[in-house]
């Protein structure tokens, strides 16, 4: 589903990703862990072209991200084309980024109507179902300002699911939440994984990674230090750097 080969990313002089090689198969859940500044969020943002990469190859479902290859040359995709590809990838942010001037339901129905041309009633019907699925059937007409952090994040997940994505990216979805609200959001994510959604999750929730993840990846300073089944990476890390990180987190 997602293939990264030698992905490099620079911000000016600062090299944030120094050659990432990773592979995520359909229906798999990959959890990426690592200290802040390790490049894990940047990598996630590269996958839907929020950040263009500087070197290497990155493809989703066999198609290059952000470019079209023809006759050995790369051509930038048009904005509309990039938008179409992004619409197949759901993304959930640490700070929710809900649209504050719209109700929960409007947040969920906007993109299906604008990007996919769904009818208003069809979009609203699906929006109601999705909000019910994340446990917010009673918050349809509530503005984000009146929702708790956990509720906001669940609306954000429903908003991403409304596009029927084939891949979901989670960028530290529980890091901005009060500890007691984390559980509701993780439950929703667990449900998604059970339904067979392909997911890449940048997280500090070791327990979640161990329980739900098919692969755990430990990143540091722009490289993948260790990757493999969570049982091995999280319980019996081979690298000293991973051991040091886990001993601090646990």
């Amino acid at each position: 589903m997602v293939t990264a080969e030698g992905v490099h990313k620079r911000f000016g002089q600062l090299e944030v990703l120094k050659g990432i090689d990773l592979e995520v198969n359909r229906g798999e859940v990959m959890c990426i862990l690592g200290p802040s500044g390790s490049g894990k969020s940047t990598f996630l943002r590269c996958i839907n072209h929020l950040e263009p990469i500087n070197a290497g190859r990155l493809s989703v479902d066999g198609e290059l991200v952000g470019y079209r290859e023809s006759g050995g040359r790369l051509f930038e995709l048009h904005e509309r084309e990039i938008g179409r590809k992004r619409s197949e990838i759901g993304m959930v942010f640490q700070h929710f980024n809900l649209f504050p001037h719209m109700t929960a339901l409007e947040n969920v129905t906007l993109a299906p109507m604008l990007v996919k041309g769904a009818g208003r009633e069809e979009a609203r019907q699906r929006g109601r179902e999705l909000l019910a699925r994340v446990g917010l059937a009673d918050k349809l007409d509530t503005y984000p300002v009146a929702l708790s952090g956990g509720q906001k994040q669940r609306v954000a997940i429903a908003r991403a699911l409304a596009m029927a994505p084939k891949l979901m990216l989670f960028d530290e979805p529980t890091s901005a939440l009060d500890p007691e609200l984390v559980g509701d959001v993780l439950d929703v994510m667990r449900g998604l994984a059970r339904d067979g959604m392909t997911m890449i999750v940048v997280t500090h929730e070791i327990g979640f990674a161990r329980e739900v993840g098919d692969t755990a990846v430990f990143m540091d300073a722009g490289v993948v230090v260790e990757a493999g089944p969570p049982k091995e990476v999280l319980s019996n890390p081979r690298q000293e750097r991973t051991k040091a990180f886990l001993s601090k987190v646990l």
Binding site: L50, F99, V115, V145
Partner: protein, 313 residues
Amino acid sequence: MSGSERTQNGTGRHEEIRAVPVRHPGRWVAAVVVLVIAASLVRSAVVDKRFYWHLVGDYLTDPRITHGVLVTIELTVIAMSIGVVLGVVLAIMRLSPNPIVSTGSWLYIWFFRGTPVYVQLLFWGFIGDLYPNIDIGVPFGGPAVIHASANTLIAPFTAAILGLGLNEGAYMSEIVRAGMISVDEGQTEAAHALGLTPAQTLRRIVLPQAMRVIIPPTGNEVISMLKTTSLVVAIGAVYELMAETEAIYGATYNPIPALIAASIWYLTMTSVLYLGQYFIERRYGRGFTRTQRGRWRGRTLALSTSREHGGAL
């Protein structure tokens, strides 16, 4: 909660506080000074015959004055509409990644903010001296689609509209730009991640949120525009409120009552604008306040933390 209701562990009653308030003699002195000034102003207005209140009353409903009021409103509405549309376009140009487009916008703002609107109005009034004929068509000597004399194409009223509207565009663009950059970057990111194009993101996500920041200073601009229309007197032949007022006292040699009548009309119109602004602000405040302004602080705090995160990797 009042003091008498305060309880400890829900049982024991505490005595209500009855403290002697601190005296503020300075405030009393200031209040007296304000009262004295106000009273003497009111007294002079009532007693002084040179206010000619009976004439003021007549002028208020004089057909020349009411016609002037209508022209003033017309000028304000049209010039402001041009200003707002131009302002949005210039603001978007200013934020464009293309350096020629953004520099063009910068130069426009530099020129129209840097010269007095009075001078700009005169320029438009005398446009015929600069360009006797106006050709619109293929540039650099190509065939013209419209060919007309400047004085017929740009009549005094059009000159007034152009002068006021093009000047306003420069100010509005800075207001719109401030509104646009006030919207958290995460909003644009979320919209892009959902597949919205940059144009859709601008129209559906950024501009509606920017409105909250744009509206208060725009209300200011409308009020300012309403009064700036009086400078149109410079062009002549546009009979808005101030021109009509001048015409009246030019004939009677008694300026004060006519000027008072004009001031009352200006005050009335700006007061109506205050009311309009209140309702528009409430409309675009949706989702930003639950009930009271107290929410604001929490909201700003949340925005600033998310912006900090945006800079992190």
